[in-house]
Symmetry: C2
Subunit: 115 residues, 2 copies
Amino acid sequence: MTGPVEQAAEQLKALGHPVRLSILRRVVQGPLAGTPAGELQSRLEIPASTLSHHLATLADAGLVQVAREGTTLRYRADFSVLRALTEYLWQDCCSGGAEPQSGPESKPSPCCRRD
Amino acid sequence: MTGPVEQAAEQLKALGHPVRLSILRRVVQGPLAGTPAGELQSRLEIPASTLSHHLATLADAGLVQVAREGTTLRYRADFSVLRALTEYLWQDCCSGGAEPQSGPESKPSPCCRRD
DNA sequence: ATCATATTTCGACAATCTTAGAATTAAGCC
DNA sequence: GGCTTAATTCTAAGATTGTCGAAATATGAT
């Protein structure tokens, strides 16, 4: 019974750690086929077990997917999930330029504007 | 000495809790002048002390600001921070819509399109 | 089958988070 | 001052998270 809020919260929580955010950045910028865990480890210079734990957190949240290729595991970003999360955040928490809610004064869309 | 990654991680972490995400949604959709803590409490139906703690977390992350008005405290969203965070997430973790995957459909960027 | 490599899982510990009742501060009013 | 309302801070407990060495698993090669 996890609604959209719970799901978004879980994904945001997964991103809410500097190491995991760094991992995701590397994975996102890496090849579409995925980045080997070992490469992430050597780049980020953290123990393999710690990295694995964080990767599992990201995978559990659905932000990354994993595929085996020989002895290595390649992690790749799930862009559709990331996009959906960003869109949700945008729509729901930045008002996305959407409906002004009940209230005397409601300036529309304070967020999207870059002025 | 917190870099951009650490700052984004802190903000994402603050959002990574269903109650806090719900709080922010209400605040965002509420009046620009801010929503009284008491109103949030009655709507979300959580103890005042718990709410206050979560509000402090959001405020510490810079996502909301607070101003006193008589005996009530009004919390309002800091849209510039929210916008910066969303944009960071979009740019850094969703590749900013670049590198369209060799997939079937590539939706138009869901967030603040810069095209 | 043995070995080497890549990575995860186990186990344990400290640190942080979440929750909420009780006590406290802050502001306005009589 | 005393009283009421609004909200925070204090305090404490239980739960979760973060870390990483050690052990285990998986794959491929000799």
